[in-house]
């Protein structure tokens, strides 16, 4: 999907079913009931890819929804991040879970270094700054 997508390309499942692929490379056309029965399909084949999310971001931008596109691009970064890391990071972002700014900065650095999630890392760093300013690194339970 090299050219910039427009709203005419939507929905992608109809306009380019061969291009829409799961995390292991199977396309929509490959994922049939027969393939599932034959045990050739795993849950990873039903996982959206960063490419698809970035494609939806382009469509959202074309429709004038820059904020939504931003979320899709952050989602594209997280699509490569394991579930446990996602849940740990989310937990740290909840109020009072991280006891200091550095804990969040470390979590951001892990996202950047281990998973190439640059936007998401910057977002977590921004949270660290705001939480410090608003006194959120406090005991809650």
């Amino acid at each position: 999907m090299s050219r910039k997508l427009d709203i005419a390309d939507y929905p992608l499942a109809q306009t380019q079913p061969g291009e829409v692929k799961g995390a292991r490379g199977l396309s929509l056309d490959d994922i049939t009931l027969d393939a599932v029965i034959a045990g050739k399909v795993e849950m990873d084949d039903l996982r959206i890819t960063a490419d698809a999310l970035n494609a939806q971001a382009e469509i959202a931008e074309a429709a004038g929804r820059a904020a939504l596109a931003g979320n899709f691009r952050r989602g594209a970064e997280l699509s490569r991040v394991p579930q446990t890391v996602i849940m740990q990071t989310y937990e740290l972002l909840r109020p009072g879970r991280a006891k200091d700014r550095q804990t969040l900065l470390d979590a951001a650095e892990r996202l950047r270094r281990d998973h190439g999630a640059e936007r998401m890392a910057a977002f977590v760093e921004e949270a660290a700054e705001v939480y410090e300013r608003r006194g959120l690194f406090t005991f809650r339970y």
Binding site: A13, L28, V36, L46, T49, L53, G64, G75, L93, Y131
Partner: protein, 764 residues
Amino acid sequence: MNRHDDLGTNRWRRFDDWDERPLRLDNFARDDPANGFSAMKGAKDPKPSVAVEGGRITAMDGTPQADFDMIDLFIARYHLDPEMVGEAMAMPSAEVARMLVDMNVPRERLVKLAHGMTPAKLAEVVAHLNAMEIAFAYAKMRARATPGNQAHVTNAKDDPLQLAADAAVAVAFGFDEIETTMRVSRNSWSNALACCIGSSVGRAGTLFQCSSEEAEELQIGMAGFTSYAETVSVYGTEKSFIDGDDTPWSKAFLAAAYASRGIKMRCTSGAAAELLMGFHEAKSLLYLEARCLCMQRAMGVQGTQNGGIDGAPLASAIPGGVRELMAENLIAVWLDLECASGNDARSSESEIRIGAKILPFLIAGSDLICSGFGSILKYDNSFNPSSFNGEELEDYLVLQRDFEADGGLTPRSEDELLAIRKQAVDAIAAVFEELDLGSPDADMKGSVVVASGSDDTRSYLPGDVSKISAAISGRAITVLDVIRALHKRGFVEEAENLLFLVKLRLSGDYLQTSAVIRDGKVISAINDPNRYDGPGSGYRLSEARRAEICAIRGELDQREVLRAEATFEKAESGRIAYRNMGPAQRGSDAHEIVVGLSPAFGTQLFRTLAGHSLADVLRALGDGIVEEGGSVRFVRFLHTADTSFLGLSAAGLAGSGVGIGLQAKGTAVIHHRDRLPHNNLELFSNAPITTLDHYRGFGRNAVRYAKGLDVEPVVVPTRGEALGARFHARVALIYAIETGLTRDGAAPEDVAVEFIRGKGRAGA
């Protein structure tokens, strides 16, 4: 004690009546802005303002950057578009309000302006609109053209068999999304699997969510059982947000996490949440909600569940609170968010208040009109009762038909729904057996198929369900296991439908704004945008859709009425025989009462609206006349079917000058030949509640008028039944049968009436 005996009380008794109305169970709270009780005018609501320096927002709604709380910071960074701020904030609010209701101002223009408006500005603009203008602006500003609806599917026992059956029913009625939750939180995996299977029956593409703890909800989604989430709550004050155990950053992170798993997601916020949580900052419901909505747009979520969700009952207790709920929904769609527009938690015990509340949304349309229509009975709703529930579902179907408005639902027949419930229960039972989760017996299954609610079932109890739920979670069962189990046991269509649903997440098409699945295709604000520029534009019912909506249960037509009468004809022929005796002349007996029969009386129609056989009615009238010393003659008229003229014509032939006009439906009149047509002596206009004793009394009174005696008119007591609503469709159909038999100038004929069982002949 009879109320009439107690005259000592110093109270107008109407208040006793009013006290008994369900309305009086509702709480009402006075305006008290200092304590947060204000719909739109909070004690500390700021005036709209903004300052921009070097492309950054340095002050907003009266607060300088240095004093921004985390919500202000998030809105300033991610919601406000510095390029739009100057123009948008400079426009007078009243002028923007007029643009919202101006069909010539395109939606896109207004959406752009909203990106440059602070929460206080958005709130100030919509506060200029009255309720009707808000509804109109909502119809214009909402994102997707085709309206939809969402159902709650839960039950008091967390019974998976019932969840499957009820999910299938919700799908059949046409809900685009179904949402479940649990009585016992650890039953979440079982509820998710059960609804997932039920929602695969009959049609593919109904989105499903299982509302549970944030982390677990995402895991259930990862296992493929659910396809969307909406309980990602945000709040309008910093302290309530923290009590809600989140921040704008943590919730935005969660939003990106859902996107990263290809799961549709919307946030939730609604009026009065902050008031309930005790951190309202003396600000109005509307202003706090405007903050919530700006924050949601800023997070980049596609939509919101909004319009006083759990807080709707409290918002409705405040003056103007219901208008405020509409106004916050308007801000949501103005910000270009998908809107699941509340009409959810039941905000009143008054059915009138509930019906009034839904109407603007029904006629304006909404992405999801209810963000939880209780498709199950009230007591089975684990979210608490909704505005509309299983009990009132048919009322809603009729409202759609009344207003020719698409509320997202389609009437279904008894046979269809029973078959669907059986299929769903068989499907989940098969999956349970295949995956070694249980083996429900025939009695469990049978009780669920016919159950209206969980009180009727002999099936799983919450404790049994916990074990099933733990097994699903512990053994890491996924949607693929369910698909394979369905297929193995012959539920191929259901397996295909489930696979279709999980494949949606690969393209991410349904992550775009306002996406639902119709006819196997994703429709959203991208490919089904709402474009309203006046009458004839925007969403309109197609003829086919109109026909679906109109086909409610129990519609009558003339064929139906004649068929029903025909079933009665045989019994009636065993009671009475009519014989024409030739042209009727004026009688000479001074005590003779003529009973004038309508054209279809006893020929095509055989019972009154009260269900009396016409033979019994004639006998009662005749008995009354004879008891009072009169004689009776029956005459059929064919020149008219009108009661008054039947009565007057009968009076004209009667030796006494007094006649009774009688229609087949039971309407009767006593007339005198010297009176004007519509100035009768007595009238029974409420045929459905007229008893045989009333007809007998009518006969007696006719004779007393003839004899010039004192008369106590027969009064048919009504208890205020809406007889027009109950009967007029049938009345009009019946009356058309009568008028269809009339002939201009047709001469009256004497009729000999023979009562076959009973006391023999009466009449000429």
